[in-house]
């Protein structure tokens, strides 16, 4: 298992280096130490983008692994609690009212959206700690946030704003700066620490809720930690990159056959594999010879949809 983490780390490093070097212009790595003018491309454009791809990928992979462990469902996605839809709606509001001029306003709105969704989730599900109530509340909030987003698009003051919203919703890491990194990464770090502390409780949940409680797991505290951690990780991801689906769903699946099925055993590999997947994908969309750059969110959905279908077919075969 540790060997898997080692290989994944190695992959992440290689992917990150390639991602810094590759793009519409190939900038060899030795260019950024010297007085080469291309070092500007690396330091101000490529590096923050690569750092964000790593951070967002890791955040989504990690929260996906936690979510699947918490819900004990291999088809669970970190977006299930409505946090990413809420964050997206927050960001859409910023675009709708034209507040996105300041670099930190859009991520700020997105985080406010994630926080508001989380608060409503806590309000609806109450203190019951019930998983079904909780998941249903998340789904309802997702659909409400989705319809409000659609409303914002249809009522957009100008066609330009509408197209800006639609483009943003597709998710991408184009034109990101260190400001975005500074907003997102500290929040993700806090979320990751919170979620990492749930590892043992997630393992205990393998035996079901009653057994987990008898082993000293407090379901309400666990729920609080999972919601807060996921809100921070996913909220910050959406704030930085828009909605990028399927990473949180796919990555734990890809990792599980290699790391074993114990929920805590897949947390770190999922974070690493998420970072690897998103960095590679973001590098590919950059170097693909398309007229306009392919949006990262779209690329991931193109990958993720068929993967989801494959999972379902595989599960159906096993159940039959």
């Amino acid at each position: 298992m540790t060997r898997l983490n080692l290989w994944l780390s190695l992959g992440v490093i290689v992917a990150a280096l390639l991602s810094v070097a590759a793009g519409k212009v190939w900038v060899p790595l030795d260019a950024w130490t010297s007085a080469d003018p291309r070092s500007l491309i690396i330091v101000e454009l490529r590096l923050p983008r690569t750092v964000l791809a790593l951070a967002v990928g890791a955040a989504l992979g990690f929260s996906g692994a936690v979510m699947q462990g918490y819900l004990r469902n291999p088809l669970a996605d970190p977006g299930l609690f409505g946090v990413s839809a809420g964050a997206a709606f927050g960001a859409v509001c910023a675009l709708f009212f034209g507040y996105a001029a300041q670099a930190w306003l859009l991520p700020g709105f997105a985080l406010a959206g994630a926080g508001a969704t989380m608060a409503m989730l806590a309000l609806i599900a109450g203190r019951s700690g019930s998983l079904i109530l909780f998941t249903l509340a998340g789904m309802i909030l997702t659909s409400i946030a989705g319809s409000l987003t659609a409303l914002a698009i249809s009522l957009a003051p100008t066609p330009f704003v509408a197209s800006e919203i639609v483009t943003w919703l597709m998710g991408a890491l184009t034109d990101r700066s260190w400001d975005d990194v500074l907003v997102a990464v500290p929040l993700m770090a806090v979320g990751a620490v919170i979620l990492a502390r749930t590892a043992a409780a997630l393992d205990a949940l393998t035996l079901g809720e009653v057994a987990a409680r008898s082993m000293g797991v407090d379901p309400r505290r666990l729920q609080l930690a999972v919601v807060a951690g996921i809100a921070l990780l996913v909220g910050a991801s959406v704030a930085a990159a828009g909605v990028i689906g399927f990473v949180g769903l796919m990555v734990p699946h890809l990792v599980r056959p290699l790391a074993g099925h114990r929920p805590s055993a897949i947390l770190l590999p999922s974070a690493l594999a998420g970072a690897l997947l998103l960095t590679v994908a973001d590098t590919l969309v950059r170097v693909l010879p398309t007229v306009a750059e392919l949006r990262l969110g779209i690329a991931m959905s193109m990958l993720g949809g068929p993967f989801f279908l494959y999972l379902l077919v595989a599960m159906r075969r096993r159940l039959a």
Binding site: R72, D203, L207, G208, S214, G260
Partner: protein, 255 residues
Amino acid sequence: MNALSVHGLTLTLGGRRVLDRVEATFTPGRVSALLGPNGAGKSSLMACLAALRRPDAGQVTLGGEDVQAIEPTVRARRIGLLPQGHDVHWNVDVATLVALGRLPWRGRWGETDADRAAVARALAATDMAPLAARGMEHLSGGERARALLARVLAGEPEWLLADEPLASLDPRHQVEVGARLRDVAAGGRGVVLVVHDLNMAARLADDVVLLREGRVVAHGPAADVLTPALVEETYGLPVEIGRSADGATFILPRG
């Protein structure tokens, strides 16, 4: 080892009194069975023993200490619960599953030698060592039941509480798992079981608590409690109690 005692336990769920001033004492080194018809309060009593439910009145004490007042991790080390059903949510291998029983003991730095030794003992006690690398999805029902029992044993609790550990097992596996439970008690630990099958209860239990509508009908050594009159009072069904040639008690419903 400390006795597990129930004092004036009263519990109301959804407006219904499911436990009514229950008094009972369970002794370490013996297998105690909770018996009674559906809705008698067996599982509720079990949940209170495991401190999963807080009673409205009365208390459960472990060595004189209220179980509700014991810190959850410490309590988890002292009282192991084997819940009903054989559900395991991920296809972990048997060794990993059994190691989960060590979670209440787990420090910050992961598995210790003591943890590994306890897991090995639990695997050996349940004859699961040869299947340690097998995934849970590839086990038979009886093997799953043994693996889950090993999980609780790995925690080496003073008390083992098992809610219907024999349900959905065929007779051979019932006897097999039952024998392991007797071994646990023989090792000095306390064992409390919820059992539905009267004959299995007669076979396994040293002590029996008969429950009906949340009240204790009788509590004492199995031979004293499993009488036609008391069993009929509990279940509302006349029974015949006899002994086989080798001295085993059997209980036949009549009517």
